[in-house]
């Protein structure tokens, strides 16, 4: 009978470099793999694999998402507790893990961990302390021991020059909110078995919605310590443990008064979200969207053409009509003249990623945009060309091309900056995705300069008139 085997919370194969890989990227004897195995076992034992969201940090464990068959985020350096907080606040039933190294958690991410702990977020933090920056080749970390030689402290860390090693478990223990704080060690097999228990406890407290748990794990980095894996474990026991005492700092047992877990705000959607963003008067009457299929829209042009705001307008309009929408801006550092793209997704279903790789709608405001994105458009998609300033035709015959003199229409309306509104109106009216009425209702709330409101409204009408003139509008 199999008594101990690889956890089902880990993928069978890891698709990191090529397919079908079964070995990790970790160095021989690295502690990360052991901690991964222990977490994976606990996930299965607690039956929470399917609702776990795992924050990978920056550091050697950056690739944890290749191993854990759970929800995954790869967070910016040190920011895992902040991302975890975000996930915690929107996914009530998720089990949220923040997995971090010492450079990540105790160095660049000190603010994030401190405040997440201080808020008592109901998350579990696994802090893998190997007293060095592993990934970048062995520089001094906040937890490096005094006298410890690293790449950046070749003569050893100096207390007066570099400060001393930070005991993060002790720092956590200075806060009122955490419910569970323990430091464990991979130095000995007994230590590994204790770590196993601590990992499980840290997770089960979260499942019981008790609050913030912090498990610090003293872990070997044989490569950067320049030791063989066996000696590195001895070194943990002999050198790390005296400075970082292995101990349970806090365990608010069930039954005793746990600090109150912060109330999770309700997730806002649809009309409620719009009201929060824009106030009560945002949309007077909501219509039901007539959108035929999910819209993957790319709006592209140069900065100053209102590309990003057109995208935002579109997303808000969709929300007003009860759809889900995402808006992802992309622009260069310059305010005017640089490239600007907005990716907008409209759907009746939840939207996973806001990235639009294969748009079914392209609003090309200038020539470089048409050249850049024409090939990406899905067959059967729609390409709107701002023919006032683009004299090239769409070369594909498996898409619908509409040539709209958007800049000219806007100019005739006395507001050249409103060419984005022309493109948007034509797109929406032609495809029937949103009601033109919705757009018109939104203009007074969204156009900042009051004297531009009337002009925008007139330009919307002129755009519809143009469509009719061209015989492109049925009604």
């Amino acid at each position: 009978m199999i008594k101990h085997a690889k956890s089902k919370a880990l993928y069978d194969t890891f698709e990191r470099k090529g397919t079908g890989q079964k070995v990790s990227h970790y160095c021989p004897g690295c502690g990360h793999g052991t901690v991964h195995n222990l977490i994976a076992e606990a996930l299965v034992d607690l039956g929470i694999t399917d609702r776990t969201v795992f924050m990978s940090p920056v550091g050697c464990s950056v690739f944890a998402y290749y191993y854990f068959d759970v929800g995954n985020f790869q967070c910016a350096h040190g920011r895992a507790p902040a991302v975890a907080t975000g996930v915690r606040r929107v996914l009530e039933n998720a089990v949220v893990i923040s997995y971090q190294g010492d450079g990540d958690l105790a160095g660049i991410g000190t603010a994030e961990i401190l405040h997440a702990a201080n808020r008592g977020e109901n998350i579990t933090v696994f802090f893998v302390n190997n007293a060095i920056y592993g990934m970048t080749g062995g520089q001094m970390a906040p937890t490096t021991l005094v006298g410890q030689k690293t790449l950046t402290t070749p003569a050893g860390r100096s207390l007066t020059r570099d400060g001393g090693p930070i005991g993060m478990a002790e720092v956590m223990n200075a806060l009122k909110t955490p419910v569970y704080i323990e430091r464990v060690s991979l130095g000995t097999p007994q230590g590994v078995m204790k770590t196993r228990k601590a990992v499980k406890r840290g997770l089960s407290y979260q499942v019981e919605k008790r609050g913030f748990s912090f498990v610090e794990i003293l872990s070997p980095c044989p490569i950067n310590w320049k030791m063989d894996p066996g000696s590195s474990r001895k070194w943990i026991t002999e050198h790390l443990e005296p400075v970082f005492p292995v101990q349970k700092f806090r365990d608010v047992q069930s039954g005793t008064a746990a600090p109150e877990v912060p109330k999770q705000p309700k997730v806002l959607k649809g009309k409620a979200l719009l009201k929060m963003l824009q106030g009560e008067s945002a949309i007077t009457e909501l219509t039901e969207s007539a959108m035929k299929e999910d819209q993957f829209v790319k709006i592209a042009g140069f900065g100053g053409q209102g590309v990003l705001s057109a995208g935002m307008f579109l997303a808000k309009g969709a929300i007003a009509e009860g759809l889900n929408a995402s808006w992802l801006p992309s622009y260069g550092p310059e305010m005017r003249g640089g490239k600007a793209y907005a990716s907008v997704i409209l759907s009746r279903k939840q939207i996973g990623s806001p990235v639009v790789e294969k748009p079914n709608v392209l609003l090309a405001m200038n020539l470089p945009s048409l050249l850049a994105f024409e090939e990406d458009v899905q067959p059967g998609g729609v390409i709107l060309v701002n023919s006032s300033i683009i004299d090239r035709k769409v070369t594909r015959d498996d898409v619908t091309a509409l040539y709209v003199p958007a800049s000219d229409i806007a100019k005739s309306g006395g507001l050249i900056a409103a060419s984005n509104m022309v493109m948007l109106t034509v797109y929406l009216a032609y495809t029937g995705t949103l009601q033109v009425e919705t757009i018109k209702k939104m203009i007074p709330q969204n156009v900042k300069r009051k004297e531009h409101v009337e002009k925008n409204l007139a330009i919307v009408d002129a755009s519809i008139a143009y469509l009719k003139e061209q015989g492109l509008l049925k009604t």
Binding site: G29, H32, G33, P189, D228
Partner: protein, 75 residues
């Protein structure tokens, strides 16, 4: 019979299981595996108790599987 089975091609030869087994059931073999490491091997007939320590200390994924009361003990 209890035994630990070590997948030759998933082991990186770190010896942590070897150093940790209370019954000294595991040794480092001489052969080199597909990923370039000398790998650990369970010594057939060793007095394994299926305690799982080798499994828990191993940093690799699925390198060690521990069997309890199995007929086939060839590791």
């Amino acid at each position: 019979m209890n035994y630990a089975k070590i997948d030759p091609n998933l082991c990186k030869g770190c010896r942590v299981c070897i150093n940790s087994c209370p019954k000294h059931c595991i040794l480092l073999g001489d052969s080199i595996n597909e990923i370039g490491y000398q790998y650990a091997q369970f010594v057939p007939g060793s007095p394994c108790t299926a305690c799982g320590i080798c499994f828990y200390v191993c940093p690799e994924f699925g390198a060690v599987t521990v069997f309890k009361d199995e007929e086939d003990a060839n590791g």
